[in-house]
Symmetry: none
Subunit: 176 residues, 4 copies
């Protein structure tokens, strides 16, 4: 996962993976049928939290409270599987060709369905899109910025929650 996240899928060769694990290329082929199989395996381990979040979300009533909880859990999932999400974000062109059942984008759209109201104003729908992406953006842009990562995560979550709250017609908590 480290190699894939650093270099991207195509630019990571089996030779590199084998060297990093200190085994031979042929040994990899004992455990995985193809290169694609390797990354699919990694995904199955790492996307479970996200899938669980989705199924959980689908069973809940579609209240603002639920949405806030979804954002909170998503924020945590994001932090827990940071390299995976980084990989998905940065290798979407590749992901399209990989036989991973639902792509990252599809999953995102399902999640989005849970958060946004298809009958709301367009701006409010976008607020919900933005809420989800805010947490990604915060992770991406603030990666090298100073400050406690946990603190940054919480701040991003707060902004996200504000956004869906506004989408529900509530005035945001004004912070100053």
């Amino acid at each position: 996962m480290e190699l894939f996240a650093e270099q991207g899928y195509e630019k990571t060769s089996l030779r590199e993976i084998a060297e990093r694990l200190d085994v031979t290329k042929a040994a990899l082929y004992y455990h995985f049928k193809t290169k694609e199989d390797i990354i699919v395996s990694l995904f199955q381990d790492l996307t479970r939290p996200m899938d669980e979040l989705i199924t959980w979300g689908q069973e809940q009533p579609r209240t603002l409270e639920t949405k806030k909880e979804i954002l909170a859990r998503y924020s945590q999932a994001l932090a827990a599987a940071a390299p995976l999400f980084r990989f998905m974000h940065e290798n979407q062109a590749t992901m399209r060709d990989l036989s991973i059942g639902e792509t990252f984008k599809e999953r995102m759209l399902v999640l989005l369905e849970l958060v946004k109201d298809p009958d709301a104003a367009l701006t409010d729908q976008i607020r919900c899109v933005s809420a989800l992406f805010t947490m990604h953006a915060a992770m991406y842009v603030l990666r090298d910025a100073e400050g406690d990562p946990e603190e940054k995560r919480e701040a991003a979550l707060e902004v996200a929650i504000d956004l869906v709250s506004q989408a529900h017609g509530q005035a945001p908590r004004v912070t100053r």
Copy 2:
């Protein structure tokens, strides 16, 4: 650009590019020194609007009004160079190795500097990050969604403007 955006940089071979243009591989090498040079050229054409925006922004007073204008102009630049931004989004792993990669992220950070206040609360800083990315996200997620693209763009811009307004301590326009 079409090929790069569809398939990603690494998976697009010079053979494909040449075939699409109905020339030989060698002919490409008369016009571009390397494969990287091809995409760099595409970028130079397409990032000019962004550069102009930055220099313009740096000459303005750092008021809320200016920031709104920056967002408005950025929204337009984004729409004009949509395939380029899609490519960057989806090929970040590659971008890191390309000589332009760094410069794009730098550009984004400079732009961010113009929009956010380094002394503001962390949440407000993230609101500004989010404002910029909202427009990206809207473009990305709503690409295949129904509705007039121009309408969507304006809605995203509105949300972005709300976010920086809030970061300036102003209550958002409540839309419903």
Copy 3:
């Protein structure tokens, strides 16, 4: 080595080498990291005698007797690795770019240091240079000439020994 000696380094392609060995090009790359690596390997096998000669020579007293012995041994090394030396002679332009190139010329100069006296008259120094090269020249020019190669080698060695003897102030054996 045969191909390299016949055609030169640049004009010998990996395709040719692979065909001659009846393997694929890719198979070569399993055994050698680069094309250069192939020739470097050939050299390492073939220059060992020369290295041993040098270390031996450096441990001996710098008498005329030693120098004669060095020439005798060098003559033998030359005969043993004839194709190698032919290659070096005929591909010096290439050798300069190869990572071994320098080392060969350096080796020759070290050997020269063992044979010539830096304080002697210029002509005597050149006699020593000439002594070494005589054996090369003989090999090169007389390759296709008639006569027993071993006999020619011995004659060349005799001339070389005469040259260093003269450089030591001794009258040459006059042969007729």
Copy 4:
């Protein structure tokens, strides 16, 4: 010639030549039919002295005096066309494929015929080979050594003359 001498024939591309002369590749093709034609032209200019020396030598009586004169003239020709000789020496593998009427080696052998006596003892024949090569070797080995080049040339010539003198049964001038 500079480029060919520095890098060798194969590794010098027409692009490089064109750039060095500040013309286009196509312009070269107006003046020369092929790449080979370029180097052939250079040779015709530069080997004339050597050819003249050969025809002159063939008309002279085959005395020791003549041979000394040949060596003297050859020494001068060598110095005058140093880069050419360097090129020939270092690119023999290439020379073989070039359609330059007589190769360097052939010319050398003709010259050698003029200097050596086919009926002499083998060692004496080698002395004559060595005489010619001494001047080459001196040029090659002593290129980067300190000292006046002209002085070195004369010393090498002296050694060469000594060698043919000995081949004629004369005791060498002992220098110390």
